[in-house]
Symmetry: C2
Subunit: 466 residues, 2 copies
């Protein structure tokens, strides 16, 4: 988070900027072919639309598709709207298949119908099929740019097929072995093919115990497979075991980022959106809807805290000093509970701990929070000693005694909060739910209630007033 992404390859941007300012268009176009696609795309994005279209006219179609694939969705839509359908359809055919399907889904029904007749049959089918999968599934994030060979080929024949098929394929480091109905039989790596003697049969080197995903599988589960098995890509199969697509490692990173955002939002009491919208692109009303449910629900539950205070009006009226330490009691409990919940939810999600370890985890949190409680209690006692020592108290009760009571209550609150913060996510996981739904605001509200109960119970008993 510390580094600003924009400074990463500044020299490439400068090269392009210099050539552009000097009007060296030919050299500029040459650099478009040489430099990393993302740098070229970012350079173009800052230019007026007419310039981008001029640049595109000078590039071959494969480069156009490649660079267009790295544009933001907004720019892609703008280009779609400013080109005639026939010209656009040629670029569109060379755009990576997953990005093509994403863009297609953003078009209106009318625009889709206008575009389709200009596409080749194979592209048309590909776009329609890929757009049909829900975005949170393997099908929704897969590409159809993959290379296949047959088991009865030898290494030389397989390489020959790749040379014929592959210029248009992005990813040929894993090559999928299929039968003539596209049922997946196994996988060879390009490394295997190159390392083996040309006459070696594919059948002899094929790996049949490959990791795969189902087309309806949750995208998070697919990303976890890529992460766990250190894969460059994972093949996606339909219910007939036919190879229908491939999810690559870059999609996995993308999914991990999106799911982390979702988990963070859940944890902070924000309902995650289904369509991963950006902050500015999301309307204020939509932001409002994402936050209001938790906020109002917790405010409503907060009434319980008010009722507890109401119940103990007597003790508050006699010892108004207790009111002074109520905010600290609530805040410290909320902070301790949230810290414990954060650590436990994160460890659960990274697979470091399991809900079966609950006893060990709770015991550990008791130990940690005991140490924390001693520090907070000491601080509280010192505060009272220094700040309130000269307050007048009824019934001969000393300030020292009040200090001990409040410190004891806060210590208990810290331990209770840590156990609740760590325990609730474990219970939710145990019940089969997602521990991230145990939102930090919910824990804060809960420990407000337990904290006041502890506080007034101890105070009432010790001070002898209801």
């Amino acid at each position: 988070m510390e580094e600003n992404e924009e400074n990463q390859e500044p020299e490439n941007q400068e090269i392009l900027q210099d050539l552009s300012e000097q009007g060296k268009t030919e050299e500029l176009v040459e650099m478009f072919e040489e430099l990393p696609t993302m740098d070229v795309a970012e350079f173009m994005e800052d230019k007026p639309l007419e310039d981008i279209i001029e640049f595109f006219k000078k590039l071959d179609l494969v480069d156009q598709g490649r660079i267009f694939s790295d544009f933001t969705l907004d720019l892609q839509l703008n280009i779609f709207q400013s080109l005639d359908r026939r010209t656009f359809s040629r670029i569109f055919s060379k755009v990576f298949s997953d990005i093509r399907a994403d863009l297609y889904q953003e078009l209106t029904k009318e625009e889709q119908i206008e575009l389709l007749p200009y596409l080749e049959k194979s592209v048309r089918e590909d776009v329609i099929i890929l757009s049909a999968y829900p975005p949170e599934t393997a099908g929704g994030i897969m590409t159809t740019d993959f290379a296949t060979i047959f088991a009865d080929m030898n290494a030389a024949e397989a390489l020959e097929k790749l040379r014929k098929d592959a210029p248009s394929k992005d990813m040929i480091y894993y090559i999928y072995v299929v039968d003539h109905s596209m049922v997946m039989k196994g996988l060879v790596t390009l490394k295997d093919l190159v390392m083996q003697h040309p006459s070696t049969k594919v059948a002899e080197m094929v790996n049949e115990f490959f990791v795969s995903a189902e087309v309806n599988e949750d995208r998070e589960s697919v990303a976890q497979k890529i992460e766990k098995y250190d894969l460059i890509a994972v093949p996606v199969l339909n219910s007939l075991n036919q190879l229908v697509g491939v999810v690559s490692h870059e999609e996995a990173i993308d999914v991990i980022r999106k799911e982390e955002t979702e988990d963070l939002e859940k944890f902070m009491g924000i309902m995650p959106s289904e369509d991963d919208e950006e902050y500015m692109a999301t309307s204020s009303f939509h932001h409002f809807k994402k936050r209001v449910v938790w906020l109002v629900s917790l405010a409503a539950i907060g009434i319980i805290s008010g009722m507890i205070i109401n119940e103990h009006q007597g003790v508050l009226e006699n010892f108004l000093i207790l009111a002074m330490y109520m905010p600290m009691m609530a805040a410290t409990g909320g902070n301790t509970g949230s810290q414990a919940a954060t650590v436990v939810i994160r460890a659960l999600s990274l697979g470091e701990i399991s809900d079966r370890d609950w006893l060990k985890i709770v015991f550990k949190e008791v130990k940690i929070s005991f140490m924390l409680s001693m520090c907070v209690a000491l601080l509280t006692y010192l505060k009272i000693a220094f700040l309130s020592f000269h307050s007048l108290l009824p019934n001969g009760i000393t300030m020292n005694f009040i200090g001990i009571i409040i410190s004891l209550a806060i210590a208990l609150q810290v331990i209770t909060s840590a156990v609740l913060g760590a325990g609730l996510p474990l219970i939710v996981r145990r019940l089969g739910g997602d521990p991230a739904v145990v939102a930090s605001p919910a824990i804060t509200t809960l420990v407000d209630i337990t904290g006041l109960l502890i506080y007034f119970t101890i105070a009432s008993v010790a001070l002898g007033v209801g």
Copy 2:
């Protein structure tokens, strides 16, 4: 987070379990060679140490190194301790270089000195050099298992060199073109080599505008490059532009996970550890140290809230009903502020917004929080109407009036909290800091104070008491 990682390839685990129970050792070892390494590693991890060592004796050294690389660090250490140094050194030589260096760093000085003499010179140097880089840099996460060729080779010669060098290399999809002092000249992909005519010179196909990392570069910046440019790996250069290692996409995912954990911890007021320790492996005292600073500091600052209450004893004594709504005031402000901060920090970190947009962001948060404040204020008014309508109040003040005052204060608190929650991370970013340090507990404590100020100011003025 929803799926349990353990269920992913259950069939593979079952295959191994069945063969193991039936005592079919030969078939079992065959499967160790066929199945994904991680599945084999996980199967072995559940077995007693003697069994693992028996399994290893039946596997060739390359497979031993490969499977050992996927073991947990704890198991790796156990195996180190139970094998004689000579036997261990043979496996160790075949372990992936980055994992080898990580394990080496976990050994005691004595153990390191005992192991070194058994290693071949090249392995010894590799381990010592890789262990010397700080773990948070490119050097600390890179591997030295990469393949190089020279620019004056042709495609056929380059492939021949790969066939000779590569069986021991993990990653040969990017091949690095170096001169005879290992200065990096460019990059070709294995795809390029295979696609080109065998007589084509490497110099003709080399890509000289490759993305690279410096050896001291922050690991997060390296991971961002892999993410941004969709790379399988990024070459790591020293100050002389010599190729010293490679960071692969799986390391990038690992770094992204670790940095997300760090950001989450920071945001929840937990000091991130430098050495990414797991929950259970971290001592309670270490957990305590990570949490205590924020907790005690915020509790100390919480004193200000107490002082504000103390200042307004007069109004509280007359209208004890105000105390009833203090917890809700604090909790709702904290929740609103944390929600806003979460959304803004996340959007900053994903590059969706920049601190230059601060005015637009603050304006948007005012709009969102205005809608939220209306809901919360209405709820509060209804609460007071239903729950406290029969309370007796001094000076002829009506419950309706009190309801309006409290609701107004809470509405103002919601808006202030959202603006503070969104604004603070923007200010920190503006000053060049990491917005994630604006911890949610800090915002909660801050809006406790602003909330009480708003509450008592409005109440004192409206009710005419100090």
